[in-house]
Symmetry: C2
Subunit: 591 residues, 2 copies
């Protein structure tokens, strides 16, 4: 079992840990110290060693900060974690509604006369520090060794997870080819890579330093002459054999800073993610700020990656169908959310191909479904009940692809209000699935299309319609997004989620999610749009027909739904047996 | 008749005029001079005196530039005018596809060694010069008196159009109240106003210095203590009586620059529209750059302005219905586009309330309908023909409101392709008309909603879905737009056009346009969106049922169409008589 359910919060440890940290403030002559959730690689998951925010405050959200001053300590949590943070941190911490209240706003108010606030230059990207300093003209932001690391006695060591080669038939291109192509387009002499999934994609490797995301921690130089220097512990690379080849030179992690200091000429960094400590060490160079050169090519999946995604989704779809068929055969009153998570993970493990789950399964029954990033533990674990909805958002990491799927299931007969909202969410998902658009549009230009039916009823969801997805990499991968913050034009090969929802606080939650990939649409007669794009659906799992009000669907929407279910049955039917096969036929009937 | 149809192009005058301008370059030691279409007020229309671009080059588009160098002269025209500019300018000018090729790109290529290019500081806004200079590090951009004015022997004088008071019952608030409200929110000591429609709105006046837009040329200071200094020729104000009152001090235009030079303290200007000459004169001040303070309050129409708009649209709708009924009774083969324009203007004049047309009527028959900004003249005038489409985009300026309406009409039986495209355009217009959305969305977040049905067929239109509209002011008014460039959140009271289209080059054009106003939607049961907005339709004129393929409409779309036509008949029926009344009933029948 990958997922665990223990309650990790220990509010009682907070006061003492905060007091020892404050003693370090005194020692350094600082008025405060910033503890972000982030590590040096700015990912969604951190290794135990880097979980400083949770260690200090008890708050286990996947984003946030603590700003520890001498007389107060703010814990910054976003909308997803407003309830959670209040339950997890003790009285010595003050929860702050972030980003409505920014770090700078709060610090400026807490230190009206100004002061000196320390930060660890490895944990803050260049742009973040720049924005913070611009808003705090009277506060000196001072680089210091991490004060939490000084007082955290049993802090774990950095992870040494094994690295594996990603087979070329799945990666779609040898890493030498990728390196050569990127090098050709480079303006700088060297690009510094700090994102683990950039390293993984570029070198066709996968790692196991953090949960859920199969990436190795490390740094690299991409040289314009077409070679790479990789800063990574040699013991992690034992399984690789000669995979990396002559084109890649491996150096130990502690050689990274001296190597940065020794660089001259022009060096490219991505200011959105590159730690301040890196640019600090580049004092002898012309720094060019640009997007990490791996990000866009990684986002545009090649034919092998798309084929792998299709295979992974069929395998994962069959596991989902087994799970859904099993669930429908149970009496809801005998099950809890943890039972649901456990059963689903067992089905995925049963494929014998599961490397990890792609994130902790969200299984929210009744009102828990309305908590968008709900993660069940022994304390919150809720019994299922007839007449309620169950929202299950989950995914698997397979060597050929990363999946992410949400289904909302009726437990017995539910009310018309829930069906009306479900049908509107479905109409949004179908609208996005059927959409064609001229090349050049970004996510922000298209996001509303999935919301029109909900808006018509005065309803909405407080998250984007979709996020980018990696290819046996991070389930949340940029730069493309189907959201108002998505400014990157969608290009063929980009994979995204399509996941509109609706949440009635304290009552129920609805979300439907398929993964989709951008592709060129076949030419239409009379077409005037030069490059017409559309989405191809990757996920094949039934949508709960018991929750649909058919009279709310238009003819084309109903046709899409019936065609989708026919395709689900045709593709997944051969992969499931017995009761699940019968259940699938029934679940895929035309309406 | 407001509209004229003469061909104003004289390509033969170009060479001589360009030669005399180049003699001035020699005299000033310049390598070039920039001649924009714009005047000092950055509006869409210019007075004859300011029509320097047309005088020099022959090009009569409503936007563009000429950059006259010693050895070449580029005329910059956007997508609307690519064909026109080539027909209008002689061989001594080189048409440039702008903005694909920017001014800076072209100048940099033409002057690879750098050089000195002159410009008139009254005709270029602060931001424009800043952007141009940033892109031309090797070129000195030098302020000079306008060189065209020196060589244009019979250049007209500045306009002295009469100014009239806008009645308070139509403006909705006395100008003293508007001034007091703006003054209260001011950060600077003085805001310099350079936009004629800002002056008109703020002081409840209308002018007649330029065609189509009832605004007076002038400048003003808005003082933080709640008074205004207006720089405008006294002879224009003879009709005003004591309308302006003690709160407004009138000064002659030539007092403006000395007054700028005499200012001290903080002065607010809008860098997007304020001439460079203004900030040049403000050397003793702290300049605060911010949006013209009139722009947003002017865009949010008050109850009186919205009531006026409704009245104006009913009056204008009745004129349109008379025109459409008349047109349907004619044999198309006996009519030309000019006949159409003339008949329509006659109907509007017949209301006895028409102050001006709000722009030159676009009446495009057959392939001319595909020219988005087509304006018929004696040379292009096309005969109507059975089996073709006729696109008519027109509007009226009434004292209570500005109208703008487009209808596309079948002349006899047309093909299925045209009907399919018409129905998709209609679906887009209906989608926008039915849309509800949470407050905070800008035009760019919503624009796609009107395009989905066209995109589905590989079709699109190369313009925004809608522009802001003034209240007996400019028919194109910012800052709100329904377009990918629309970044200002839509607020209750904002008026916009809703005008999707489709253009098959060389064959036909389709556009449908209603004006709409943003309003709070009535609360819905179970609504979770805090502030739910929608559009209220202002335009009531039938949409041509002969061009609709009913099977392409969904139930809710058909219901909207039938309800719209029922409302058209109920509202406009009482205002039309005889054959037009019968025509209206038939045109508004339910489908």
């Amino acid at each position: 079992m990958f997922q665990t359910f223990d309650e990790t919060t220990r509010p009682e440890t907070g006061p003492n840990r905060l007091a020892t940290l404050r003693a370090e403030l005194d020692r350094e002559g600082l008025d405060g110290f910033i503890v972000p959730r982030a590590d040096a690689h700015q990912g969604e998951y951190v290794a135990p060693r880097d979980d400083r925010l949770a260690w200090l405050t008890g708050f286990t959200g996947s984003a946030g900060y603590c700003v520890a001053l001498r007389d107060r300590a703010g814990v910054f949590a976003d909308g997803r974690y407003r309830v959670q943070v209040r339950a997890q941190v003790g009285d010595v911490f003050s929860p702050v509604d972030w980003p409505e209240v920014g770090l700078a706003d709060w610090i400026a108010e807490a230190l009206p006369e100004g002061g000196t606030v320390g930060f660890d230059p490895w944990l803050h990207p260049v742009e973040q520090l720049r924005a913070l300093q611009a808003k705090l003209p009277d506060v000196a932001l001072q680089r210091v060794d991490n004060l939490v690391d000084r007082v955290w006695e049993d802090q774990p060591d950095p992870p040494l997870g094994a690295v594996f080669a990603q087979p070329e038939n799945l990666a779609g291109a040898p890493h030498g080819e990728k390196i050569a192509q990127l090098a050709e387009g480079m303006e700088a002499d060297v690009a510094v890579l700090t994102l683990p999934d950039s390293l993984a994609w570029l070198l066709n490797i996968r790692g196991s330093d953090i949960p859920r995301n199969p990436v190795p921690h490390g740094f690299a130089f991409l040289h314009a002459e077409g070679r790479v220097t990789l800063y990574m512990a040699a013991e992690k690379l034992a399984n690789l054999g000669d995979h990396l080849g002559d084109i890649v030179t491996v150096q130990p992690p502690d050689a990274f800073v001296p190597a940065l200091q020794a660089l001259s000429g022009s060096v490219q960094i991505d200011p959105a993610t590159c730690p301040v400590a890196v640019t600090d060490a580049l004092s002898a160079c012309d720094i060019i700020e640009a997007m990490d050169p791996c990000v866009l090519p990684k986002a545009r999946k090649n034919a092998a990656e798309l084929a792998g995604a299709r295979d992974a989704h069929l395998r994962d779809g069959a596991a989902m169908v087994h799970f859904l068929a099993w669930l429908d055969a149970q009496d809801p009153d005998t099950l809890t959310e943890i039972d649901v998570v456990t059963a689903l993970e067992a089905e995925r493990r049963g494929t014998n191909a599961l490397r990890d789950i792609s994130f902790d399964t969200i299984a929210g029954a009744g009102p828990n479904g309305a908590i968008v990033h709900y993660r069940v533990n022994e304390t919150t674990n809720r019994k299922l009940a007839k007449g309620e909805l169950l929202l299950v958002d989950s995914g698997g990491q397979y060597v050929d692809g990363t999946t992410d799927i949400t289904r909302t299931i009726a437990l017995g007969e539910v009310g018309t209000e829930e069906k009306d909202a479900f049908t509107r969410v479905l109409k949004g998902m179908i609208a996005m699935s059927r959409l064609h658009w001229p090349a050049g549009m970004a996510g922000r230009d298209l996001d509303a299309v999935a919301r029109v039916s909900l808006w018509e009823a005065g309803l909405d969801y407080g998250h984007g319609t979709g996020h980018g997805v990696g290819s046996y990499l991070c389930v949340h991968e940029g730069p493309q997004r189907l959201a108002r913050t998505g400014t990157v034009p969608l290009e063929p090969g980009m994979m995204l989620s399509n996941e509109p929802g609706f949440y009635r606080e304290g009552a129920y939650g609805i979300r439907l999610e398929n993964l989709i990939a951008v592709e060129e649409a076949p030419p239409l007669p009379g077409q005037t749009i030069k490059s017409l794009l559309r989405f191809k659906t990757l996920t094949f799992v039934p949508l709960d027909l018991r929750l649909i009000l058919p009279e709310l669907l238009t003819g084309p929407e109903r046709a899409w739904l019936n065609a989708y279910h026919a395709e689900v049955e045709a593709k997944i039917g051969p992969l499931v047996k017995g009761a699940a096969r019968d259940w699938l036929s029934q679940a895929c009937r035309a309406i």
